[in-house]
């Protein structure tokens, strides 16, 4: 979950402590009831009752904290706007997700493209492009492509004759330029 609290904080800690106290009390009561239900004080029945009581106590006791935790996540995710939510992996990786929409409006569906980013730090540029630009098809070499998409690389340096080069405006994340070039055929 994208926004689970990384630490319980004061409120979460209070829920854990209260839950453990209540859970322990509940477990003690449950253990007694289950032992009686299972027919007495033999070692086997006592142990089985103990396992079930611990399962019940630990789960019920911590349920309020676990519920609080996922609700904190929900409070964040329910506020994310729809255009962002479908592109959040791009934004999480310092890329402008909307820029790929602009690219997708230019490259025709089912056309081929080559994608490259300048360095390993920008390693998520290509994977996001591969997914976001479907059904456009990526190829492994610039010379095989109809279009070239780069981050922080001038496509003119890739050794392929180009018909046009344009810079895709970005409004978020990595300030390096995103280029889209059409290969000359």
């Amino acid at each position: 979950m994208i926004a689970l609290p990384s630490s319980p904080g004061a409120y979460g800690t209070a829920l854990i402590v209260a839950g453990l106290v209540l859970g322990s009390a509940l477990g003690w009561v449950a253990w007694g009831r289950l032992r009686r239900l299972f027919g007495g004080g033999g070692a086997a029945t006592t142990a089985v009752a103990g396992v079930l009581a611990v399962a019940l106590a630990s789960s019920v006791g911590l349920a309020p904290f676990l519920a609080w935790r996922v609700v904190q996540n929900l409070r964040y995710t329910s506020r994310i706007q729809r255009p962002i939510v479908e592109r959040i992996a791009a934004y999480e990786n310092n890329l402008d997700g909307a820029a790929f929409d602009k690219v997708a409006r230019i490259i025709p569906r089912h056309a081929t493209f080559y994608v490259e980013a300048s360095d390993p730090v920008r390693m998520n540029f290509a994977p996001w492009a591969l997914s976001a630009l479907l059904p456009r098809i990526a190829v492994g070499e610039p010379a095989q492509a109809q279009w070239i998409l780069t981050l922080a690389i001038d496509p003119r340096t890739l050794g392929v004759p180009l018909a046009s080069v344009r810079r895709i405006p970005t409004g978020y994340g990595d300030a390096a330029p995103v280029y889209l070039a059409r290969v000359a055929r």
């Binding site: 789960s59 996922v70 959040i88 479907l134």
Partner: protein, 470 residues
């Protein structure tokens, strides 16, 4: 969003219908009469459609809406090709239930799962393997019309792990066909599998385990934080654990009852586990070995039948995909690494204790599992000590141990940096064996109670005879 949720429910209703047919075909069960039976039927449908869909894709189809509807309708109708046998009367449990315990556990479980459904339906697609591998493959199947070799044979898409099994991408592709590309609502899909698993577990042990024993364990499974988190990740680890757990439970029923329907379901869920993730081969291999060994002690015919069904599952879920990837030059990311290189293994024995430590640490981490795994292991120990049906404990402990050993071997032989490999995957790959162990806890505990508490029970007589022999 509501429309997309309804569309997703429609897709899953088709899977349920398919599963009703599969269950009817498999055994004596009548159409699901209880809520828990619906969970089993639904998962049977998911498994059947999930195993068949990759075969259809390999055959050149592209899982369009009419194709999916035809497949589900076909599976539903197949169930009516044979006359359903009358179900055998269910065993009556001797133990009474403590309704307060049952209601408390069931109430908290239901409330938490409903909350989880709301939370998950708002979850964005952000986990790297999900947005960069699993879901893009599903999108590609839909947008390119099946397994387009321009993508699936391309080095440019190598990072998508194109050679990995296709059950989850197929399932997600079906969801996309029904609702469009809503990756937020898509997160409900693995949650449906998880919730159905809890119901299916209840259905499979209903005549063996009192509700008082079952529900506290179901509650502990439902609330285990790592299961909720991994379910919301859209990774395939929880679906794999679900299919593996069901394969184990159906295999156990087959050993106990000799019911061929249980054997068929074991084969179906084993095939689904194999078609979900590559680790499924380790886990299903471990389970199959234990089932065959235990069956061999009672009936060689039953052992051969078990082995035959496992072979059929491999033939259905592994071989066609392996052949297809070779024929189409699919870039191969999976390799056995150095698993069969004695010199590499000998030079890296120092990896073993570190790997064992990390896996055990993650298994026993209370922030991930609460106390679920220790409780499961405690049930195994109690069963070994007190139960007359020790073969059940042997099945669980053996499968868990072999699965664990298989994981250790995988990390021992990894060509990657060990710490990186463990850090990125250990918490996920242990889910299947951990859930397997926990899922058997009610069975083992009920066996202990039956052996200890009822002088008239055959299990008790067997236990006393065994003690007398010592």
């Amino acid at each position: 969003m509501i429309g997309d949720v309804l569309a997703l429910l429609g897709a899953n209703a088709c899977l349920l219908a398919a599963g009703v047919g599969v269950l009817r075909l498999a055994g004596p069960r009548r159409p699901p009469a209880r809520l828990a039976d619906l969970g089993l039927a639904y998962l049977a449908g998911v498994a059947a459609v999930g195993v068949i869909s990759p075969l259809l894709l390999m055959a050149g189809l592209d899982l369009t809406l009419p194709e999916v509807l035809l497949l589900c309708a076909g599976l539903f109708l197949t169930g009516f090709l044979r006359r359903g046998r009358e179900p055998a009367p269910e065993r009556r449990l001797r133990l009474a239930d403590d309704l307060r315990v049952v209601l408390l556990a069931a109430g908290v479980t239901a409330a938490f799962l409903v909350l989880l459904a709301v939370v998950v339906s708002f979850e964005p697609l952000y986990r790297s393997d999900a947005w960069a591998q699993w879901t893009p493959k599903a999108r590609a199947i839909v947008l390119l019309g099946g397994l387009d070799p321009r993508l699936f044979s391309s080095q440019a898409y190598r990072g998508m792990n194109l050679d990995y099994p296709l059950l989850m991408p197929s399932l997600e592709a079906i969801d996309f066909r029904f609702m469009g590309f809503n990756t937020q609502v898509l997160h409900l899909q693995p949650l449906f599998l998880f919730v159905a698993y809890l119901a299916a577990l209840a259905a499979l042990v209903r005549d063996r385990v009192p509700r008082t024993v079952l529900w506290p364990i179901l509650l502990a499974i439902a609330l285990a934080p790592t299961l909720a988190i991994q379910t919301a990740s859209l990774y395939a680890d929880v679906p794999l654990a679900v299919f593996f757990g069901l394969a184990g439970l159906c295999g156990w029923r087959w050993l106990g009852d000799g019911d061929r329907g249980s054997l068929a379901l074991f084969g179906l869920f084993a095939a689904a586990a194999l078609a979900t993730k590559i680790e499924g081969r380790i886990f299903v291999g471990a389970l199959a070995l234990l089932l065959v060994v235990i069956a061999w002690r009672g009936s060689r015919a039953r052992a051969f039948a078990t082995a035959g069904v496992v072979a059929a599952a491999v033939l259905l879920a592994v071989v066609p995909w392996d052949v297809w990837t070779r024929v189409h030059d699919v870039p191969v990311n999976f390799s056995e690494g150095n698993a069969f290189s004695p010199s590499f293994l000998a030079a890296n024995t120092g990896r073993i204790p570190h790997t064992v430590y990390v896996l055990l640490r993650d298994l026993l981490d209370p922030t991930a599992w609460l106390l679920l795994v220790p409780l499961g292991l405690a049930a195994v120990l109690l069963s070994l000590r007190f139960s007359a049906r020790r073969s059940e404990a042997a099945l669980v402990l053996g499968t868990f141990g072999l699965s664990f050993a298989g994981l250790v071997w995988t990390y021992w032989s990894t060509p990657f940096d060990l710490d990186w490999h463990l850090g990125t995957s250990a918490t996920r790959v242990i889910i299947a064996p951990a859930l397997f162990c926990a899922s058997f806890a009610p069975v083992l505990l009920a066996g202990v109670l039956e052996s200890a508490g009822d002088p008239a029970s055959p299990a008790r007589a067997e236990l006393e005879a065994r003690r007398a022999l010592r």
